[in-house]
Symmetry: C2
Subunit: 353 residues, 2 copies
């Protein structure tokens, strides 16, 4: 701390991303990265890009990318916002839409960055516990509020909510914004994108980092009513006009256009998730039903921190959260078949499993 800091930041507790060790030979199952490369068209962008153009500013409106996303979703480009990863989209969403008089509602256990934004922007919030099955109970999201945000599927549990339940919430909650963070939706859950034309208060946030294998390029986006999008644009253009560089825009467009490749890599990850779940259960683990590219699991007899350390000693990284209620679980990203076989073998060799 220093006397030169703005008073408001002195108590901030920043988000802690999963480790990104620059070490070779690790099996990295700690940050939910896709084990497969981005679509081949992405490589073509890098090889053919006219480097001289980098002297120019990128399109601050990202119109080509917005149009590609709109076409893909059956929406119009003014229903699309793009940002530097879904984290930036979420940060701008908190600023633009969720700083209200009434408290916002969100799950007590969810993506931990939400609480960082709540602190950063001094937002009043009411946290609603998960059920004892680790599920978000949308029935409990009621009463006057300044907005509702939840992840579907939720993190780090991996459990999804069906569209009917989300529609019911939107029918009930018409006076404040409902933000559905769908970072993991492509791995088997139902997207609320198809509800965007029906509810002017619905914002759906997605990312290229997981299902499109472009975590390295930082592209996220949101779908919503043009007036919600305009709010995001205003704040974005009051903060940083050009958060997406030329290559981020171009590689995202390329990744979006190869649907066959997309479907195939999703299916491979779902198949590997099914295999991993079965194997973990056969070793005595409890595994929550996942619609994501990770599983959230605990062993009834062995502390999660001990298992994490054992895996780490064997060069396998997984993620652990110290939050009470989930502090005996591990979040394990779905890697390649070989990586998950190595995980299962390693766990099998743990004394007592």
């Amino acid at each position: 701390m220093s006397r030169f800091w703005s008073p408001a930041i002195q108590s901030l507790v920043p988000y802690t991303p999963g480790e990104q060790p620059q070490v070779e030979g690790l099996i990295k199952l700690n940050t939910n990265e896709n084990p497969y490369p981005p679509a081949p068209a992405v490589e073509a962008v890098l090889r053919n890009f006219d480097t001289e153009r980098l002297r120019l500013y990128p399109d601050p409106e990202c119109l080509a990318l917005k149009q590609a996303l709109a076409d893909n979703a059956g929406l119009t480009h003014d229903q699309v916002f793009v940002g530097n990863g879904s984290d930036e989209v979420l940060a701008l969403t908190f600023m633009a839409l969720l700083r209200q008089q009434q408290p916002i509602l969100l799950p007590e256990t969810t993506y931990s960055f939400y609480n960082v934004y709540i602190d950063l922007f001094d937002i009043d919030a009411r946290h609603i516990p998960l059920t004892d099955q680790y599920r978000i109970d949308l029935e409990a999201y009621s009463g006057e509020n300044g907005g509702i945000i939840f992840a579907n599927p939720n993190a780090p549990t991996g459990i999804s909510i069906d569209l009917k339940t989300i529609s019911a919430l939107l029918e009930r909650n018409t006076d404040s914004v409902v933000v559905v963070d769908e970072a993991y939706v492509d791995f088997g859950a139902q997207s609320a994108t198809q509800l965007v034309n029906h509810y002017p208060n619905l914002l759906v946030v997605q990312t290229f980092s997981k299902s499109r294998s472009l975590a390295g390029m930082r592209v996220g986006f949101a779908f919503g009513h043009p007036q919600l999008i305009e709010a995001l644009e205003r704040v974005k253009n009051s903060f940083n006009s050009y958060p997406l560089d030329m290559l981020a825009q171009q590689t995202a467009i390329a990744a979006l256009q190869d649907e066959t490749y997309f479907d195939q890599s999703i299916q491979r990850i779902i198949d590997t998730r099914t295999w991993t779940t079965t194997k973990l259960e056969s070793l005595g683990f409890e595994v929550l039903p996942s619609h994501t590219n990770f599983v959230f699991t605990r062993h009834p007899d062995i502390a999660a921190t001990e298992l994490m350390q054992y895996l780490r000693d064997n060069k396998i990284l997984v993620r652990h959260f110290t939050k009470p209620g989930i502090d005996n679980h591990l979040r394990i990203s779905i890697g390649t078949d070989e990586e998950m076989q190595a995980l299962i073998s390693c766990l099998k060799s743990y004394p007592g499993i």
Copy 2:
């Protein structure tokens, strides 16, 4: 506007970047882009990059880039912050360091994004007029304050302040942060970077967008005391952990390493600026002394808006600001020799010049 917007954003007036028309054949002298391509090593990054790695998150600390910047400046990596363009660095600086009890001090005429941040973060500010020679008078920046920010060289005037005057300010003003925005410093002004080890309250902000020809990649940075850098890191990690994608980090490192190419393109731009200034003066224009890659100029007899329109009709874009006091000036970026010859020919053909 919509009832779903956060109340605080309803009165925001976002920054207006210079136009980025997607039209061929324009001579674009409106956004201070470098007319020359980035260093050849940048192209090699794109051609050789292992695309498969894009499935992974980039290094959120940007350590290799920080180290390269530190080496270049004779500093250590903990004295370096990097962000998504200097605009993001500035936005985070306003949040982390300039939200204080006392009003901050800044020039009345300067980079117009500063006032957008002041509104966005609800900061109290005192604006100090330029001298009648359009100069920043640092003597006038005195008394208790919550911080001082100015651009050196200033925008859109192009006029620089010497290092002795900045040192004198830092000697006087020891209780609040002094931010020197050096977006254009490489084009002939003196950088305050060499003062960073002497003043714990000095933050120097620079960018790869101008002198390094990487506007398309969005990389900015700041040098300062490790405690100032830590404040920026805290806010950055509470907003968006990974604002620089892998290619932004790699191309920036590549651009930094070719000093010969850098020196040569800077010198070409300075030579062209000298030629342009002489020619404009010979046509009756008044040109402020520039240490940037643009000139700020007015014709005593012809309205700037008319000249701008005439140039535009001839496919040459320049920038005009409606702010009183500078609303009869044009800001003209320094392009290639051919582009500036076209500009001068076009102006010569204007009736009355």
